[in-house]
């Protein structure tokens, strides 16, 4: 390994290779607090050619590697171990071009999500996917996780916005996927790459679609005396045919934490749940009419009150609590697990009841703040990781919540990815045949299995480990 590390220093310069000390600690975990595993080394290349050279060197020495953006991932995806090298992409942070006529931009993977929209705002354009971590997370990490965000309800998730990708394959070969206008050039390999969690190679250049910033926006805050009513109101809004730009829910536990924090947004703390609904469009008159209609629907479905924010300042205040909810929750206990699961919208009321029951059963504080319009839940489990019994209860409660969501016809992750955290749940939603094909799909990109090994597909659950299963077919 030491000769490999010397070669890496030769490529990127000594100061961009870290092999010991606190520098490694930073890379020992991502946004998920329960995994802590320092890599053998961290290398921080300064450009694409250095990425290629680094990957070639590692491939030649058969050393596994883990691509890493900002490390805000919540499934342990960007974490390696003492046998692997982390390739941090934070220095590849140039916005290469903004094409306002065709509404697209080409960026390096380390560009921070919010920075891209900041740069395109003067042209009246923005990059629509807006994960709550957008002030920190990178476009490369968004591509790898297929990140979502509040406004993905109307505008779609990351994969709906990626047109072209330049990828360094795990053997160091550079390929380009997609095409300038987004039409696949052959099978849709851009679509396949997005969400591959760093296991298919490293994205070094990303061309994204930009959308016009809507001219008119209204944000509504509705509060409810029961979570069930709020869940039913969500279905009513969606059924109206008016597509909200965002439709977010926070339960009482979350509201109380937010209101006690510096991010207080003026949410009523006695409400069982609040809904934040946003409507946007080009014309003031139309957006007014639509939000008035929705306000009526919310009221008819049990909202105690509905407030409408029109000015940018009022809207920002309403959103602040939502956007900083994770931060506020992080302050009430030493540790916080942010869960991520999706259920059919119509199942929201029942599943929320069930989550409350699970919280009670395991004596864990669970606060819900989530993308209600998509049925994408984020139960937050607050705990003290120093207490082994509490840790165990959190593990069990998290598992029980997953099972409840699956039983309701849902899935185990809507936007945070599988990483290593959710490997164990994969066999609950995919059969052995499907998992085997997923694993083999990965091997088509990475025959040596060096790119972020051990994530996404639980190898033990694949077909040939099952007694009586068909033998694995030949794979190149």
């Amino acid at each position: 390994m030491s000769t490999v590390l010397d070669s890496l220093s030769g490529i990127v310069g000594e100061r961009w290779v870290r092999t010991a000390g606190p520098a490694l600690d930073t890379y020992a975990s991502d946004g998920l607090p329960t995994i802590n595993s320092p890599p053998r080394a961290v290398v921080i290349p300064g450009n694409r050619d250095e990425v290629i050279a680094v990957v070639r060197t590692l491939a030649a020495a058969n050393v596994p590697f883990v691509a890493r953006g900002a490390g805000t991932g919540l499934s342990g995806g960007a974490v390696g171990n003492d046998a692997s090298v982390v390739i941090a992409l934070t220095r590849l942070n140039r916005i290469i071009s903004v094409d306002t006529v065709n509404r697209r931009a080409t960026v390096e993977p380390g560009v921070v999500n919010a920075r891209l929209s900041d740069a395109t705002r003067p042209h009246g354009l923005h990059y629509a996917p807006d994960p709550s971590s957008q002030a920190a997370c990178t476009i490369g990490g968004n591509v790898a996780e297929n990140a979502g965000g509040p406004h993905c309800l109307k505008y779609g998730v990351t994969s709906n916005h990626i047109l072209e990708l330049e990828v360094v394959l795990p053997d160091g070969e550079l390929i380009t996927l997609g095409s300038p206008a987004g039409e696949p050039w052959g099978p849709d390999l851009v679509g396949l790459f997005v969400g591959s969690e760093g296991m298919f190679g490293i994205a070094t250049r990303i061309t994204v679609r930009l959308l016009p910033i809507p001219g008119s926006i209204r944000t509504l805050l509705a509060d409810f005396s029961s979570v069930r009513q709020a869940g039913e109101a969500v279905s009513a809004v969606i059924a109206s045919g008016i597509m909200p730009a965002a439709l977010e829910m926070m339960d009482q536990s979350c509201v109380q934490v937010v209101e006690a924090s510096i991010y207080a947004a003026g949410y009523p703390t006695d409400a069982a749940a609040v809904l934040l609904a946003e409507f946007d469009g080009e014309s003031e008159a139309a957006v007014d009419a639509e939000s008035a209609q929705i306000a009526q629907i919310l009221q008819a479905n049990g909202a105690r009150s509905v407030r409408t924010a029109t000015t940018a300042a009022d809207r920002a205040r309403l959103w602040q609590g939502r956007k900083k909810a994770f931060g506020a929750l992080g302050r009430i206990s030493p540790d916080l697990v942010v869960q991520d699961a999706v259920v059919p919208r119509s199942a929201l009321p029942d599943v929320l009841d069930e989550i409350a029951a699970i919280a009670k059963r395991y004596r864990i504080r669970v606060s819900n703040v989530f993308h209600a319009g998509d049925g994408n839940l984020h139960p937050n489990l607050s705990f003290d990781g120093r207490n082994a019994d509490e840790r165990r209860r959190v593990e069990e409660a998290a598992g029980a919540i997953m099972e409840a969501c699956i039983a309701a016809g849902g899935t185990i992750t809507g936007e945070h990815g599988v990483g290593s955290d959710k490997l164990r749940y994969m066999p609950l939603i995919f059969d052995a045949e499907t998992l085997t094909v997923m694993r083999d799909t990965r091997l088509a990109w990475d025959p040596a299995g060096l790119a972020n090994p051990g994530k996404v597909v639980p190898i033990h659950a694949c077909r040939e480990w099952h007694a009586g299963g068909r033998a694995r077919k030949a794979v190149a």
Binding site: S179, P180, A181, W185, P187, D188, S283, P344, G375, G414
Partner: protein, 404 residues
């Protein structure tokens, strides 16, 4: 009919029992239409072990009838809509259902799939396998953007179920997107989970005629001024049956939003004529049918700024009889009769401009020579080949040579 074919037919019959229909096509090739995914898997598993070459089809003649094969596997027996959930805005349907029937079944539930694929009454599976989107692509994205998950039978008869039934899902690799638009290279799609919308309250079509380039300018002005239209489509006279080019704008949504968008568009593009609702629907139907009426249909992925150039290119190499441009969706489509030589030259010229040209449908002699996609970009061919071997290890599925 040769003895070998009879053997295949007999084998297939004994595998399926009452679980599917078996007949022979006019060329004497046995054709089987199983009624379940499992039966499809049995057929492909047998094909893999006996070395049969299988052509996949939906019965709507969208794949070349004349592709050489030992057996045709059709989705004609898979026509059920197994679930429509209006509150969740999702549906599950089998791949062989006709588009018109699916549309009707969804409408009965107040639900809508924002697709208007070129072609007359195609099967759902063929729309997905060929990734053919129509004018609504401008406002709602491509076919693949509406799929939540699917059931795929691989070339060697394994049943794979990526994705799920919920509208947001990042569990596992996105094999759904790989299968959609890959022209059957990775297996037979037997069922899909679809993401729906509510039937829009208002649905208005506005149109005007003029010269191609003046309409193109207007289209850009509309795009820059207003609400994102559901469709903003430029169509040649051969498509609409008119005497000059047509620019058509479709607005859907709430009454208020459509009203405002109509006002803005009128202010931008001058005399746009509003069609009566039935005429609007008729206009888009005619467009869809004519946009696939030739024996060859193809599409180019084009940036808005390159549309005029791309239209010129197709006109130069082929003709401008049946041409459409999806302004915001970044696509130019052509249909007609073209030779392999013409298409090869067009593709080469398009590739120089970084415009992928996908041949959606053509007689087999053209497809086998040119492929659906043509030469891949550097390094991509090897990757596609490796992926093909995962899904079709023994090469059962009939696809154009050089395409993996």
């Amino acid at each position: 009919m040769s003895g070998a074919e009879l053997t295949i037919e007999r084998r297939v019959r004994s595998l399926l029992g009452p679980d599917g229909v078996v007949d022979t096509n006019p060329a004497g090739v046995p054709r089987v239409a199983p009624r379940t995914t499992e039966a499809c898997a049995l057929i492909l598993e047998a094909a893999a072990s006996h070395g049969w070459h299988v052509r996949l089809g939906g019965g709507s003649r969208w794949t070349s009838d004349d592709a050489p094969a030992d057996l045709t596997l059709s989705t004609r027996g898979l026509t059920r809509v197994t679930r429509v959930s209006p509150p969740d805005l999702m549906a599950t349907a089998e791949a062989g259902i006709r588009w018109s029937e699916l549309k009707r079944a969804l409408a009965d539930h107040g639900a809508w799939l924002p697709w208007d694929p070129p072609g007359a009454d195609r099967s759902l599976g063929s729309i997905i396998a060929t990734g053919t989107a129509g004018p609504l692509r401008s406002g709602f994205g491509s076919v693949r953007d509406h799929l939540l998950g699917l059931t795929l039978v691989t070339g060697d008869g394994r049943i794979v179920r990526p994705g799920g039934q919920v509208v947001k899902n990042v569990a596992g690799f996105d094999l759904t997107r790989l299968a959609a638009g890959s022209f059957g290279a990775f297996g037979l799609i037997t069922a899909v989970h679809l993401r729906l919308r509510s039937v829009p309250r208002a649905d208005v079509t506005l149109a005007r005629t003029g010269t191609r380039d003046e309409l193109l300018q207007m289209a850009f002005a509309i795009r820059d001024a207003g609400e994102a239209p559901a469709a903003l489509e430029l169509a040649s006279p051969g498509i609409t049956g008119g005497s000059s080019w047509t620019l058509a704008l479709r607005l859907v949504g709430s009454e208020a939003a459509v009203h405002e968008a109509r006002r803005v568009a009128a202010g931008t593009a001058g005399k746009l004529e509003e069609l009566a609702p039935a005429d609007g629907a008729g206009f888009w139907n005619t467009l869809a049918e004519n946009a696939a009426r030739g024996e060859v249909t193809l599409r180019l992925g084009v940036l808005p700024a390159g549309l005029a150039d791309a239209l010129d290119l197709v006109t130069h190499h082929l003709d401008e009889e049946c041409l459409t441009a999806t302004i915001a969706g970044g696509a130019v489509r052509w249909t007609g009769a073209g030779s392999a030589g013409q298409l090869r030259l067009l593709r080469a010229a398009a590739a120089q401009r970084e415009l992928p040209l996908t041949i959606e449908r053509a007689p087999w002699d053209i497809l086998s020579a040119l492929g659906h996609f043509g030469a891949y970009r550097e390094g991509v061919g090897r990757l596609v080949g490796s992926l093909r071997r995962v899904f079709d290890p023994t090469g059962v599925l009939v696809i154009p040579a050089g395409e993996g």
